[in-house]
């Protein structure tokens, strides 16, 4: 009986079974950032614990960093204090800090892969739920809480239960104007925000095979929005080509050894899964969320569903969503006037995300609608640098977008980039929770970067295929 990648990686990293029945699981890569680590370090100091494997932890700052200017000290005292704390902790425990000064900083889920830190067959954890992103490389990667960050620092391990594995197959070719973001929004729409609880998601099928690493990261990133703590794609030639030559990738003879290990971790052809679901790529349309959970989404041209279309237990939440958003059933979300457009985040803040938007901006020559505040925020300083070298900064600013410094920015409300009042934001990020983007009454519509650009230009939710005259 074959094994899945999840089972192989888990077994390879299981140190021993604990009395509770859980496993002590070794962590191959530990990433930390400024928000969820300071209390963990404080607990270490309280208990006089050491960090035995500091070379397996890497630190960056992303959530609180301002994206207008990164000059120190930050204007915001609290943000400054959090960064000083992180620097001090890294220094004290000998942890490699990816420093803004050296141009290494960025969102934790963007910089890890960029540096070649994330590799197939690894366990990866971070005090951040979107750690599932790293599963794109065929790693078992998941978010943890601060007390667990303490455990990993002190022991390089966690107490974990084994998950079941659901294989999600998408086959076929996506239609023009449909992106990785639409695929994952579609999957979450089908399986629900808690459909993945207790599962690891294995994304497979010809659609994912054809995806670039950045597209795979977009999908795995949002596994957690479907309730699955981790999601992964089996490593293949695309994975290896991406990793080759990166700072922390194996070199020389070690490379061949690595590829052999990575290949051996792939799911067996006869692997057994707790569940298998299949979708057709052709069925997927550009998606937009209309509610307050990432599953409350629809094809851009469709009318919003009536609460009565849902099981009775869900109706209260559907009604709450309509009330919060100020939307009504039976009307399309298309045409809703937006105030803000945000392209960035660990879901869609990578080079290829911006490249695709630039392509359409250049071809159409279109500009941001007056009255729309449009932000372009690279996911890392490296992404930003590459964008400048490619002239993207100019394309964006000429089109009326603000071109910012790297960080989480308007994905959440921990830095100066925030919605105001009930503003409606077309966003390439991953969460449309109430108040997520900084105003307790602010409203978020999740969509692909190209759809965000189309909304920015139209001043309202639009079908990017019409705005940019896609040929099909």
């Amino acid at each position: 009986m074959g094994k899945s990648l999840y089972d192989k990686v888990f077994d390879k990293h299981a140190v021993r079974k604990l009395d509770s029945g859980q496993f002590q699981l070794l962590m191959g890569l530990h990433l930390i950032h400024e928000v969820t680590s300071p209390q963990a370090f404080a607990m270490l100091r309280d208990r006089k614990l050491q960090v035995p494997y500091p070379e397996r932890t890497f630190a960056t700052c992303d959530h609180i960093i301002p994206t207008k200017s990164q000059l120190r000290p930050f204007q915001d005292d609290l943000a400054e204090q959090m960064l000083v704390e992180l620097e001090r902790n890294c220094d004290h425990y000998g942890i490699r800090y990816l420093s803004p000064k050296k141009g290494e900083q960025g969102i934790v889920h963007v910089v890890g892969p960029e540096l070649g830190l994330t590799q197939p067959g690894m366990t990866v954890c971070c005090g951040d739920s979107h750690t599932s992103t790293h599963g794109a490389f065929g790693a078992i990667a998941f978010g943890i809480g601060t007390t667990q960050v303490r455990d990993v620092l002190a022991t390089q391990t966690l107490a974990m239960e084994k998950l079941k594995v659901r294989r999600i197959e998408v086959n076929g070719k996506l239609r023009p104007g449909v992106y990785a973001k639409d695929v994952v929004l579609y999957v979450i729409n089908q399986l629900g925000v808690q459909g993945g609880v207790g599962f690891a998601y294995e994304f497979a099928g010809s659609t994912f095979d054809a995806f670039t690493m950045e597209e795979r990261m977009t999908v795995c990133n949002m596994s957690i929005e479907g309730g699955a703590r981790c999601g992964y794609v089996n490593p293949d030639a695309t994975t290896y080509a991406y990793l080759k030559g990166r700072e922390y990738s194996p070199k020389g003879a070690a490379w061949d050894k690595a590829v052999a290990y990575w290949d051996s971790m792939r799911s067996d052809d006869d692997a057994v899964y707790a569940d298998v679901v299949k979708y057709k790529a052709e069925d997927i349309e550009p998606m937009v969320t209309w509610g307050i959970t990432p599953a409350q989404s629809t094809a851009v041209n469709a009318k919003l569903p009536a609460p009565s279309a849902f099981p009775s237990g869900d109706r209260a939440l559907i009604e709450e969503a309509y009330q919060y958003m100020g939307f009504a059933a039976d009307a399309p979300v298309k045409g809703q006037k937006i105030d803000v457009a945000f392209i960035g985040s660990c879901t869609n803040g990578r080079f290829s995300d911006f490249e695709e938007v630039v392509k359409h901006l250049q071809a159409s020559g279109k500009k941001v609608h007056p009255g729309v505040r449009a932000l372009v925020v690279p996911g890392s300083q490296t992404v930003r640098q590459r964008m400048i070298e490619a002239g993207f900064d100019k394309v964006f600013t000429d089109a009326g977008f603000e071109f910012r410094e790297a960080g989480c920015s308007m994905c959440l409300a921990m830095n100066p980039d925030k919605l105001v009042g009930r503003e409606l934001c077309a966003s390439s990020s991953n969460r449309n929770f109430k108040g997520r983007q900084g105003s307790p009454t602010g409203r978020t519509l999740l969509m692909s970067p190209v759809m965000v650009a189309a909304a920015a230009i139209s001043g309202s939710v639009a079908d990017a295929r019409e705005v940019f005259a896609f040929s099909s």
Partner: protein, 204 residues
């Protein structure tokens, strides 16, 4: 010596209705700008509370008669979204401090965070959760008891079955939920597992 065993938890109760309540709602992100958890308690559900106040309604966490509650009753997929441990840390620090949560289901990371803090999250069927809610609704002084040994929760004359994954239940009932000590004991085994991984020393 402090007793870490979590077997029987009793206290006044409070209920927050709604499915898929995410951790951004339990503690909005702006309060995460801090280096200690100390001041989080009073900000639990802050934005939800404010919105209800403005609509002339009262959030349970603002209900004067519920301020002594120690057990929280919720619906489905409670604690989804962000991994922020600030969410259970805030609940633990709200007034008397929440010490147990009963609901239909919980998001995984939230559940794990709670266990790591010695706070059980037990599940019950939808009907049973509703029955408990009715039992505490009439009188805020009604005590709700969560019995982790027998897998039961009771309030007034309602008694229902509750469950939680066996590993976590054992950790809590035996007082071994503070995982660091146990994980540290595995030190040598950890080193040998690490040796078996080709990449662990950066491929050297």
């Amino acid at each position: 010596m402090q007793d870490f065993k979590r077997t029987l938890i009793t206290g006044k109760a409070i209920s927050v209705d709604g499915n898929d309540i995410d951790t951004d709602r339990i503690i909005p992100a702006r309060f995460l700008r801090c280096v200690t958890f100390d001041d989080l308690g009073s900000h639990s559900f802050e934005d939800d509370r404010k919105q209800l106040r403005e609509a002339g309604k009262t959030h349970p966490f603002d209900d004067a008669s519920r301020q002594k509650a120690k057990v929280l009753l919720v619906d489905r997929n409670f604690g989804c979204g962000s991994s922020r441990e600030h969410a259970p840390q805030a609940l633990m620090r709200w007034n008397a401090g929440i010490t147990a949560v009963v609901g239909e289901s919980f998001a995984e990371i939230f559940f794990g965070n709670c266990v790591a803090l010695g706070m059980p999250c037990v599940t019950a069927s939808r009907d049973d959760v509703q029955a408990l809610k009715r039992a505490i609704a009439a009188d805020p002084n009604t005590e709700l008891t969560v019995d982790l040994v027998h897998g039961e929760a009771s309030a007034g004359n309602v008694r229902v079955k509750v469950s939680m994954p066996e590993g976590a239940r054992k950790q809590l009932t035996t007082g071994r939920w503070d995982s660091s000590a146990e994980l540290l004991e595995g030190k040598d085994a950890v080193a040998s597992t690490a040796k078996g991984l080709p990449y662990f020393a950066h491929w050297h």
